[in-house]
């Protein structure tokens, strides 16, 4: 959080991996904290917020209400109405605090359908610290957030610079193919996994196509003595083109290993003979880019399984 001037507060909310999730700008006027601007970024989605009634908390009038509509890039809208009911003075861990009780009504709207959720919400603001605790009790679950630790920005900056990527990320600068002519259809962060869509992304015709290629082109001498899981991971873009190939190597005891270069080169040459890939499609969306894998499971120089 950052005070921009006497009356304006900037809040950037980060998720657990310290990735930016919400930008919010608040102003303070007449005992009210008003939301002036909000934008959000999430996994495969983002939102901009239309503010209808900006009062996030009102110290003067307990009956005030807060109304916004979050418009998500995925096409959904979230209509939020939070009506403040009572304000109570309280002490939390020795801090003078105010507790705001409110009723929260959320409506998710998509292509004419809507789903409604109600929550009984409690927000506790501690003097000099800001939001200290929030509890939203719904019919099916309760969301409870508590302040755990305040840390200086310098420390946080170092923590958020961790460079951790998603599990099974493919670094385009560290692939085995020249993919200069391979184009993603969307942003790299929006590449889904093969199993997210229907049909799943993969090889048209499935494993029989690969077994046929192995029957025709496999030179057993090139994989002699090899055992383990040789996994080719790559991207199938929205047009059904494959690129960004890389190899993950695991032994039969599930430990990372290294296969002979000759075996990797040979099986990659066979992989390159696959002609048709299936792009995947998400519900309510056109075809999208997807991460796909094909594993050659080998034992003592023989391919015993194709996965998945």
């Amino acid at each position: 959080m950052k005070l921009l001037d006497e009356n304006r507060l900037e809040e950037i909310r980060y998720n657990s991996a310290m990735e930016k999730e919400y930008y919010r700008l608040y102003s303070f006027k007449d005992n009210k904290m008003n939301l002036e601007k909000e934008m959000g970024w999430f996994h495969f989605d983002s939102c901009v917020t239309q503010i209808k009634n900006a009062s996030v908390v009102n110290w003067g009038n307990p009956q005030d209400s807060f109304k916004i509509v979050r418009a998500f890039s995925s096409g959904r809208d979230l209509d939020i109405v939070r009506t403040q009911n009572t304000i109570q003075d309280t002490i939390v861990e020795g801090y003078s605090s105010k507790m705001f009780h409110s009723q929260l009504e959320n409506d998710w709207i998509f292509e004419g359908d809507s789903v409604h959720y109600s929550f009984d919400t409690k927000l506790i603001y501690a003097k000099g610290m800001g939001l200290f605790e929030s509890i939203s009790k719904g019919e099916q679950n309760t969301r409870h957030m508590q302040l755990v630790e305040q840390i200086p920005w310098e420390t946080f900056s170092k923590m958020k610079d961790h460079g951790t990527k998603r599990v099974a990320y493919i670094d385009p600068n560290n692939t085995i193919d020249d993919h200069s002519n391979f184009k993603l259809c969307d942003k790299e962060d929006y590449i889904v996994d093969y199993y997210n869509g229907d049909p799943p992304a993969g090889v048209v015709g499935g494993k029989p196509v690969i077994w046929d290629l192995l029957d025709k082109h496999l030179d057993p001498s090139k994989i002699q003595g090899q055992s383990g899981y040789m996994t080719f991971r790559f991207v199938v873009n929205c047009n059904g083109e494959a690129g960004r190939f890389m190899i993950e190597e695991t032994d039969l005891d599930f430990k990372q290993t290294t296969f002979s270069q000759a075996s990797k080169d040979h099986l990659y040459e066979i992989m390159k003979k696959i002609e048709n890939y299936q792009a995947t499609k998400l519900q309510y969306k056109e075809n999208v880019d997807a991460y796909v894998y094909i594993t050659f499971k080998m034992k003592d120089g023989k391919i015993i399984e194709l996965l998945p």
């Binding site: 957030m145 840390i151 599930f254």
Partner: protein, 266 residues
């Protein structure tokens, strides 16, 4: 929730968790909520493991993205921890994962066999599949047909007794039949496929395998009827298949067309 400050603050807040706090977190079914395999999920789970280093479900969740995305060394060590801390809960699930995703039949079978005595007089169903059924698949794929039949029969008898024949999943009939077929007992195989079709009358896989049996008996007329049924049902989507991985003995249209051609040419 974590706040940071850009303005100098003389004293920054840090919460000290009481045992009561920890007990209440431990009861939570869901620790945060982030998409599987994202950095956000990883950091949530690692934070949870700082407080609950023996929480099996956190270890298990850390390994699932690696499993689904084809990197066994990013799956097994985490799942192994889950089994170490709660073997009754996770042994069977690990066996399921190793069976379907890694096709390691010996290791999967060991997990099912290790789980069984931990839950006496109870048939475990990790991922909603009976361990007897999955033990049958392991033995079938290992070429141990007698043992496979023993487990498929045990599974079928138990299912018929507990939920009734109409609710037995198709594939138990299919794999029982395939086991007989691979043992060379085409008559018993045919009976298993026909039993399956009496319970589930629309299944391309059962029709395909029944056609194979009939062809080998020399009954080309009925073999043709059943392979054509298989073809139509396959086109309509009444076929074997599963999410994430290919199924065992999955039927493909070229297999059906090849058999149809073979039958028609006789």
């Amino acid at each position: 929730m974590l706040y940071f400050s850009c303005t100098p603050t003389p004293e920054l807040y840090k919460r000290t968790f009481t045992q009561e706090d920890l007990d209440s977190f431990d009861k939570m079914r869901w620790f945060g909520g982030a998409y599987q395999g994202t950095p956000a999920e990883k950091y949530l789970l690692l934070e949870g493991l700082k407080h609950f280093p023996e929480k099996a479900s956190f270890w298990r969740e850390l390994g699932i993205a690696g499993l689904k995305r084809g990197i066994p060394y990013m799956f097994y060590p985490y799942y192994d921890k889950a089994v170490q801390y709660d073997s009754i809960e996770w042994l069977g699930y690990r066996g399921y994962c190793i069976l379907y995703f890694n096709r390691d039949y010996e290791r999967a079978l060991k997990d099912f066999n290790d789980l069984d005595p931990l839950t006496p007089n109870f048939v475990d169903h990790p991922q909603a599949q009976s361990i007897d059924y999955m033990r049958g698949i392991c033995h079938l794929k290992m070429g141990q047909h007698e043992k496979a039949l023993e487990y498929f029969d045990r599974h079928l008898n138990s299912e018929v007794e507990t939920v009734g024949e109409d609710y037995v999943a198709t594939y138990a009939f299919l794999y029982k039949g395939i086991t007989h077929y691979e043992m060379g007992d085409k008559q018993a195989a045919q009976e298993a496929f026909e039993w399956g079709l009496r319970v589930h009358d629309s299944n391309a896989d059962l029709e395909y395998w029944l056609a194979k049996c009939l062809l080998e008996k020399g009954d080309t007329k009925n073999a043709l009827v059943h392979i054509q049924k298989a073809k139509n049902l396959f086109k309509q989507g009444y076929k074997h298949g599963r999410n994430y991985t290919e199924d065992f003995y999955q039927t493909y249209m070229p297999y059906i067309e090849a058999l149809e051609k073979q039958i028609s040419n006789i």
